[in-house]
């Protein structure tokens, strides 16, 4: 028993190191001064910068294209959230309340969509969006429409549970009091479901914020429309400067790390959708 315990503690420490060390290294590079990253091979790179500096962060916030990418990322993510919830919440409600013959087929359809690789679906999607009438849409809307394809199955999955948790009595009472179905859904059920749906919303926000392939393809010919991950890759192609890349990577990751702590419990449901019986 003692030996198992020791092995477990060592394993836990190793796993924590494996996860936290790369994150620490990213942070370290983001505050590194020049001498700490350009060593010329005369000395090993230090594990803590010789002269920590926030110079790269200051440089980033002084750049207009960085802000533009940030605003684009936020906008696309918000559009995606709005679209996914508007389409997903009613569908989840119907699936939660009524078991019908097609239920299994619908769930199967939702899941099998994930068989399509993004790098494959993006080709016809981009070809479509380059031609009228869809080319008339603002590029941010185009990316949001594509992101909704990815998020919608998850939003529906996560929200089914939320609606199942609401007692049916609520709707029955509302019906007795003479509320229409639409009124019941929008004014009574949605407010009750809101906290659970918020988790789906945050999950969608993160998915869109982190997504690379669709954002990259749809903004390829239009640098103005770059999201932050696409911007990071552009910077990477343009400079190998480690501290600048690291600072940008930190800025992109911090909001998602904070958000993900908030929705841990629900993210679990999204990530394991369909895998657990």
């Amino acid at each position: 028993m003692k030996r198992i315990r020791l092995g477990w503690v060592l394993g836990l420490l190793a796993a924590l190191f494996l996860i936290l060390f790369p994150l620490y290294i990213l942070f370290k590079y983001s505050i590194a001064d020049r001498a700490s990253i350009v060593t010329g091979g005369r000395y090993p790179e230090p594990l803590w910068p010789f002269h920590p500096t926030f110079e790269m962060y200051r440089y980033l916030v002084s750049r207009g294209d960085f802000w533009a990418a940030g605003v684009t990322s936020v906008r696309i993510a918000l559009y995606t959230v709005a679209l996914s919830l508007t389409l997903g919440a009613p569908a989840a409600y119907a699936l939660a309340r009524y078991r019908f013959a097609g239920y299994g087929v619908l769930i199967f359809t939702l899941l099998s969509l994930r068989l399509f690789p993004d790098i494959a679906t993006v080709i016809p999607v981009v070809e479509r969006f380059y031609k009228p009438p869809l080319s008339a849409l603002p590029v941010e809307v185009q990316v949001a429409l594509a992101h909704t394809l990815l998020s919608l199955p998850y939003v529906i999955f996560m929200s089914i549970g939320v609606f199942q948790g609401i007692p049916r009595d609520l709707e029955e009472q509302a019906a007795i009091l003479g509320c229409s179905r639409l009124y019941t859904f929008t004014r009574i059920l949605l407010p009750v479901a809101a906290p659970g749906l918020a988790a789906g919303a945050i999950y969608t926000f993160l998915l869109s914020w982190n997504e690379f392939i669709f954002a990259y393809y749809l903004t390829f010919t239009n640098p103005e429309g770059a999201t932050l991950p696409v911007y990071l890759l552009r910077v990477m192609a343009w400079t190998p400067q480690k501290n600048l890349l690291a600072a940008l990577a930190v800025v992109i990751s911090v909001p998602v790390i904070l958000f993900s702590f908030l929705v841990q419990k629900y993210m679990q449901a999204g990530l394991t959708a369909g895998a657990v019986k």
Binding site: G11, P90, A120, A246, I252, S253, I257
Partner: protein, 293 residues
């Protein structure tokens, strides 16, 4: 359920499913039609199987297919093992368990592009932390190589880095699925085994593993799909050694041949569907046989 009730339900379902089904229907349809377009710009022939003929005759395609297969065959069991390790570590009561679990979830929160940047920083050439370590420049570690390793010039090393990034970022997913599986095994069985004097290893072998088979099968199927689909890590970390995902991008953005890219994309979709089906069959077969034993 009354007729009006039923109509109402369909109306609630319709927008979401209409959106998904039309979009994916159109995507598949366009993928096929675009891929049947062949020839120099302005003088394309339709329908033609030219793209497919060219693909089958191209050594790049076969090389990419081979790399992707290796990526899947090594990456999938690796992700299962890593996920199982993490799940076993946190599947027990201890103080700070919530916090440790939250830390274990961190990798999935971070964008893949950022993970790839972290790896490229750690493994930078010629001077980076890993090269410093391997060259014995840190003092406490033996000198293993005499010159800096160029990770990106060697096929196994570059793809290894891509696999490292993929595994690191996605390990929480496998962990969560396996944790759910571990949670469904009843504590009573372990108690019974302990009263009969079973060692921890015996408990693991005869109680945990057999009952974890469905969760492990889920992990294998889902992770193998993701491994076939992989694009971003090989794209950033192994640009000189394309897998199928990067080959599609190359055909589209570098060679400027959307129709060839669409043909590759369709081949990838079919490949995933077929291998997933086969893997599912094999796992189901194994499952029924393991349960008997």
């Amino acid at each position: 359920m009354g007729r009006r009730q039923r109509l109402y339900m369909w109306l609630m379902l319709f927008p979401a499913f209409f959106y998904l089904v039309t979009a994916f229907g159109l995507i598949l349809f366009e993928m096929v039609t675009i891929s049947l377009l062949y020839g120099p710009p302005g003088a394309e022939v339709y329908p033609s199987l030219g793209n497919y003929a060219e693909m089958l005759a191209s050594p790049e395609f076969w090389a990419a297919l081979r790399r992707t297969t290796v990526f899947v065959v090594i990456g999938t069991p690796l992700q299962l093992l890593v996920g199982l390790g993490l799940a076993l570590l946190v599947h027990r009561e201890f103080r700070l368990r919530g916090m440790v679990r939250a830390i274990f979830m961190l990798p999935i929160a971070i964008p893949s592009v950022v993970t790839a940047v972290i790896i490229s920083l750690l493994f930078s050439v010629p001077y980076g932390h890993v090269n410093d370590l391997l060259m014995g420049r840190l003092g406490w570690f033996p000198r293993l190589v005499s010159a800096p390793v160029n990770w990106y010039a060697s096929e196994p090393l570059a793809l290894g880095l891509a696999l490292l990034g993929k595994t690191w970022r996605d390990m929480p997913i496998s962990m969560l699925i396996l944790l759910a599986g571990l949670g469904s095994i009843s504590e009573e069985q372990y108690e019974a085994a302990r009263t009969m004097g079973a060692t921890s290893w015996q408990q693991f072998k005869y109680i945990t593993v057999p009952q974890l088979v469905p969760a492990m099968a889920s992990v294998l199927v889902l992770r193998s799909i993701e491994a076939w689909k992989e694009f971003i890590f090989p794209y950033i970390l192994a640009p000189s050694f394309p897998v199928l995902g990067t080959l599609i991008d190359h055909a589209y953005h570098v060679a400027k041949r959307p129709s060839y890219a669409a043909a590759l994309a369709l081949v990838l979709v079919v490949l995933i569907a077929v291998t997933t089906g086969v893997l599912n069959r094999i796992l189901r077969f194994l499952e029924t046989h393991l349960v008997k034993a």
